[in-house]
Symmetry: C2
DNA sequence: CGCGCATTTGAGGACTGTCAACTTCCGTGG
DNA sequence: CCACGGAAGTTGACAGTCCTCAAATGCGCG
């Protein structure tokens, strides 16, 4: 583990509230491992023995059925994943695979469950993390059931703009075919969705997307704080303490 | 509160592990309230002040965007809902409405959060509950992204058969228009989906659905334990300890 | 009994998936 | 450094699915 990695892990919302002793015990049995690109880390249906912490690189969570595959989330450092399966000590519902060379910290599931028993503050942090993940999934389902493909793409681009920079050009962090699957469409239809956004000021050059008229795009996307997690909050309410936990599963992936 | 209600609440996975004192304090500040049918209990975007426990009746969780509405879950007694928002002390992402006359126990959110701080076992139970809900949502997303409408209906019927009885006739517990929304389609298309299942031995009479050839239906539905939570597990593995928590949010609603 | 709403059925259109051909991009190896 | 091969991305044609609108039917409650 490189110097600073431990600090990065400890600063995760999942751990920053834990007692130092809890953190020490949990990471004592952990080990860091490197994986090449396009490597399966975990297969859905397999028992989950570790909580994974992505320290470097990009990874993908996906699900399979009947010879079809769909991307459920893109993970970027630093984030944890499959916490839910670890808490319940059961099999994974999602597969995980690296998109590029990755560095992972693997914490034994036993250590996590033991820590929850001994450290109430850690158990609370786990609850908050899972609650944040849960709410992320609720947003995702609303996104998919209520919006069409073009609208999902438009909101995705606005979310990228809000999170990565303030400029009018955003960069897609992974291949379009993966973005297509994440957004619930085929690569062909993603192309057409980008084409449809052409009329609203969106131009594409490789992985660079230029948003010429953010206003026009927003008019089409109709972002909603109850779906998108980046949308402008209603200005009349002062109590805006939506301190959602976003460090672990479903990071900035699905809809932000 | 009727006699026995408290016992029913205490026997929920969320509470059965908690210290008696924890349970006493939490329910001390709680109150039971009755609501007529078709009443809004909670509006998405509103701060959540209570953890709700549905003691009697049926309720629905739904989301809204751009003048469209989609049903996210059907709740049946005894189950809790909006635990995630309570844990994070934030606004609701889903609205809740009664489908019929309902009896609800409302536990102040403060009491829940305090109990988590004081009782590590309760905090663990909350984590398990949220982890179970999280995994239910993952199943839902896979269900929606990987399957078509007819397949979703077929699996829903098989899930009903597995949970409610062992017979070949199942009863829909709510209106078809709500089922349609839950399954992510229009009422018109649900009708056609039922018609499509005609060829596979499914006949409909009001809210009664007869499954003449379960084998044929399964061949179409291709149920999967990693999506449906009722599907036959692979017989070669003995370790089948998937003790998922299913008592709270997302009960038998979405995909079981 | 009658009204209102849920459900069904039909027709048409919009959206999405599939297949195939073509172009572009990128990493490899000469 | 360039040429090449393979994969990614795009475009077009077509089919299948799903949504919308409209009208007819059925059901339940007042």
């Amino acid at each position: 583990m490189r110097p600073g990695d431990l600090e990065r892990v400890q600063s995760l919302p999942l751990f920053q509230d834990a007692a130092p002793e809890t953190f020490r015990v949990a990471t004592a049995g952990a080990h860091v491992q490197r994986f090449p690109a396009h490597t399966m880390l975990l297969l859905e249906g397999d028992p989950v023995d570790f909580l994974y912490v992505l320290l470097d690189g990009q990874a993908e969570l996906h699900g399979t059925w009947n010879d079809h595959e769909t991307v459920l989330a893109i993970l970027r450092p630093v984030s944890t994943f499959i916490l839910a399966a670890v808490v319940l000590d059961t099999v994974a519902l999602m597969s995980a695979r690296t998109l590029e060379r990755c560095e992972l910290l693997m914490i034994p599931g036993d250590a996590i469950r033991t820590a929850m028993r001994l450290d109430a503050r850690f158990a609370q942090a786990v609850s908050r993390d899972l609650a944040g993940g849960y709410r992320g999934l609720v947003r995702t389902i609303k996104n998919h059931k209520l919006r069409g493909g073009v609208e999902r793409l438009a909101n995705y681009l606005l979310a990228l703009r809000a999170s990565d920079n303030a400029g009018s050009t955003v960069r897609l962090h992974f291949e379009k075919r993966i973005l297509a699957s994440l957004l619930g469409m085929t690569p062909e239809n993603l192309s057409r969705a980008f084409a449809a956004l052409h009329d609203h000021g969106v131009t594409v050059e490789g992985s660079l997307v230029h948003i010429a008229k953010p206003g026009a795009l927003e008019a089409l996307a109709k972002p909603d704080p109850l779906i998108d997690n980046h949308a402008p909050r209603g200005g009349d309410i002062l109590i805006d303490a939506d301190a959602e936990i976003w460090s672990s599963e479903w990071n900035r992936a699905t809809s932000r």
